[in-house]
């Protein structure tokens, strides 16, 4: 199993796509291992859906090639690629029952009715909808429709499962429930999956690796933990998770002079010259608040306090352009109230910087 998992299932090599003079995708390359779930994350218009649609054969591309199981499928139309897809919009065929929808791909492949029925029942059981086989799509909730769409996509035993923001039309509670279901089923079926989303929590919680895209290019692809803790670019650092942008300056030893502290510049950060004004990127959990006003600490005033369950988020005015946000355990935060004067310190050992 482990050797199978290390095999390269999908290779996207130097894909480019242009809309007139606008480049939607530039030299995009990605490799996915067998059974791996990779998410593409990025702001609107970054090209993540374009990648998925090119892989699925739904959109053309101008340069590059696509290999699946070592076979070049670049010129194949979508109906010859054997890739299951779940769309953002509800896509169940309205004239067919749930069971007929699930069986559709098998019927196209001329699989016998007996085998089709068996397979659709198995898949409907997997998505906990075996009792709704005779229902029509208009009798199902949004979450149920997407679960049926997932079963339908899996029925053809796809080489790759493509998920194009399948949860974005659902309400918050159902989203969490279905994304966990997707991950469970993906692990159970060991289907290589490409998941496109703009919701970082969604991407980070279910994926083996997450790729962050910006302006048609892949900025970084890593496991969620590495992506969050060791971002390779300022864009990734500011896009993934919450990041404070605090004005800083580079000193003579290549360190970052920020508030009343001096901290090493991250090796992954862009180079900066002495005296250059920059923004340091600091995560809320890398800041601490206390009432000990020593020389390193920066005094500030608590302006906002938001209870988030186990954590509390505090907004502190340091006299810079925007509030600096600090995450504390809710127990510790009980000692601090809005209007309190506090001392703020950065606990990071190194910092990324962005242009000021």
């Amino acid at each position: 199993m482990s050797s199978k998992k290390s095999e390269i299932k999908v290779s996207l090599n130097n894909l480019s796509r242009h809309y007139g003079s606008v480049a939607a995708l530039q030299n995009f390359s990605l490799e996915m291992k067998t059974g791996e779930m990779v998410s593409l994350l990025g702001p609107s218009g970054c090209g993540k859906t374009t990648v998925l649609r090119i892989l699925g054969g739904l959109d053309p591309h101008h340069d590059g090639n696509i290999l699946v199981d070592g076979e070049d499928i670049t010129g194949l139309p979508s109906d010859k690629r054997n890739m299951g897809m779940v769309f953002q919009a509800y896509s169940l065929f309205p004239n067919m029952t749930v069971a007929e929808n699930v069986e559709y791909g098998l019927r196209v492949r001329k699989v016998s009715q007996e085998v089709r029925r068996k397979k659709s029942m198995e898949l409907l059981e997997m998505v906990h909808l075996s009792h709704r086989g005779n229902a029509y799509p208009n009798q199902l909730s949004g979450g149920q429709q997407q679960r049926v769409a997932l079963a339908r996509a899996l029925a053809i035993s796809p080489k790759v499962l493509l998920l194009d923001e399948p949860l974005s039309a659902l309400d918050a509670q159902v989203r969490v429930q279905i994304r966990e279901e997707i991950r469970r089923i993906q692990l159970e079926t060991e289907t290589t999956t490409l998941f496109v989303t703009h919701d970082q929590e969604e991407a980070m919680s279910v994926s083996d690796r997450v790729g962050v895209m910006n302006a048609g290019q892949l900025e970084q692809i890593d496991s969620p933990t590495v992506l969050y803790n060791k971002p390779k670019t300022a864009f990734v650092a500011s896009f993934v998770g919450v990041t404070n942008k605090i004005p800083a300056e580079i000193d003579g030893k290549g360190r970052v002079r920020i508030l009343n502290q001096k901290i090493d510049l991250s090796k992954n950060s862009r180079s900066a010259s002495e005296g250059e004004k920059v923004f340091a990127l600091v995560r809320p959990e890398n800041l601490i608040l206390s009432n000990e006003f020593d020389t390193d600490a920066q005094p500030g005033l608590v302006i906002t306090k938001s209870f988030l369950g186990p954590l509390t988020k505090l907004g502190v005015d340091l006299g810079i352009e925007s509030l600096v946000y600090v995450n504390m355990t809710s127990q510790e935060a009980r000692k601090i109230d809005v209007g309190d004067r506090v001392a703020l310190k950065i606990t990071s050992e190194e910092l990324m910087v962005a242009n000021a």
Binding site: G56, G57, L58, P77, S78, D79, K80, R81, N82, M83, G84, M85, F87, A89, Y90, S91, F93, P94, N95, M96, T97, Y104, G105, V108, R109, H131, R132, N134, A135, Y136, Q139, A149, R152, A153, I156, L162
Partner: protein
């Protein structure tokens, strides 16, 4: 009696009055025409003679048959050409949609004489010599209505997503059209077919200009010497068209009821 109840009674009364006036406006001319068609020359009371006169006319069955054949052929051409064309327009030609919407209403404004001469010249010779060429012209005349009906039907479904879902599951475009799109817009197609059938069945001007004889042209010719007979013929055509309409509607209702029944059964099963 409360003010609310009073208001609701007045509203209800007005509603029935409007409905009654509408019915009188619709029924009175038809009833008068039926009564007139049953009269006899020389005021000898009411009789079915004018209706039996229809069936005694030479070429009655020939002409009604050719009109029915042309109507069916027009419907088939509409389904085979207009449905895929409008579907393709929705999928690939969104940027040209306005142009096509404009082109689709042209048959309404182009004089029939221009259409007759121009369109006939464009036809291959072997079709020009056949009366079945009329079916192609009827399809063109019906386009302003059939296009709109299909346009609305296709706009009401997530067409692009359905096509992409079907294609990604391995279906060819033809299979997608027959298994997914056509069933999803069945009522729009039924409406387009019905419009094509009724327009073809009743078309007179273009057919007459091209010197072909169909049922409406035949009615005009034979009724010139018999006023009461011509009214009987008009009533016969009207009742024929209504029967056709009722048959199409009943077929749709049977289908709808069957589906609703299975949905209700499913709901009962799900809630049990």
């Amino acid at each position: 009696m409360g003010a609310g109840t009073m208001k609701s009674r007045i509203f209800s009364g007005t509603r029935y009055l409007i409905l009654g006036l509408g019915l009188v406006f619709f029924i009175a001319p038809v009833a008068s025409a039926i009564e007139f068609s049953l009269r006899s020359y020389g005021n000898k009371g009411h009789t079915m003679a004018n209706y039996s006169w229809i069936f005694q006319q030479e070429d009655f069955f020939t002409n009604i048959t050719i009109s029915l054949k042309l109507a069916v052929l027009s419907a088939v051409i509409t389904v085979v050409t207009v449905v895929p064309a409008v579907t393709f327009l929705h999928l690939e030609g969104q940027r040209y949609k306005r142009i096509f919407e404009f082109l689709a209403i042209l048959p309404l404004v182009v004089p029939v004489v221009s259409l007759a001469i121009g369109a006939q010249k464009a036809m291959p010779l072997f079709i020009q010599n056949s009366q079945y060429e009329l079916a192609f012209f009827y399809v063109v005349i019906a386009i302003p209505y059939t296009f709109q009906s299909l346009n609305v039907g296709l706009s009401s479904i997530p067409l692009k997503t359905l096509v992409e879902a079907s294609r990604s599951l391995g279906a060819s475009f033809a299979k997608t059209v027959t298994s997914v799109i056509v069933p999803a817009i069945r009522s729009a197609i039924n409406a387009a077919v019905f419009l094509a059938v009724t327009l073809s069945f009743g078309e007179f001007t273009l057919t007459s200009l091209l010197h072909w004889e169909t049922f409406p042209v035949w009615i005009t010719r034979v009724s010139q010497g018999n006023v009461l007979g011509s009214i009987a013929l008009s009533m016969f055509s009207l009742i024929g068209a209504w029967t056709l309409l009722i048959l199409v509607q009943s077929a749709q209702n049977v289908q709808k009821n069957r589906r609703s029944k299975s949905q209700v059964e499913e709901m009962e099963e799900a809630t049990a």
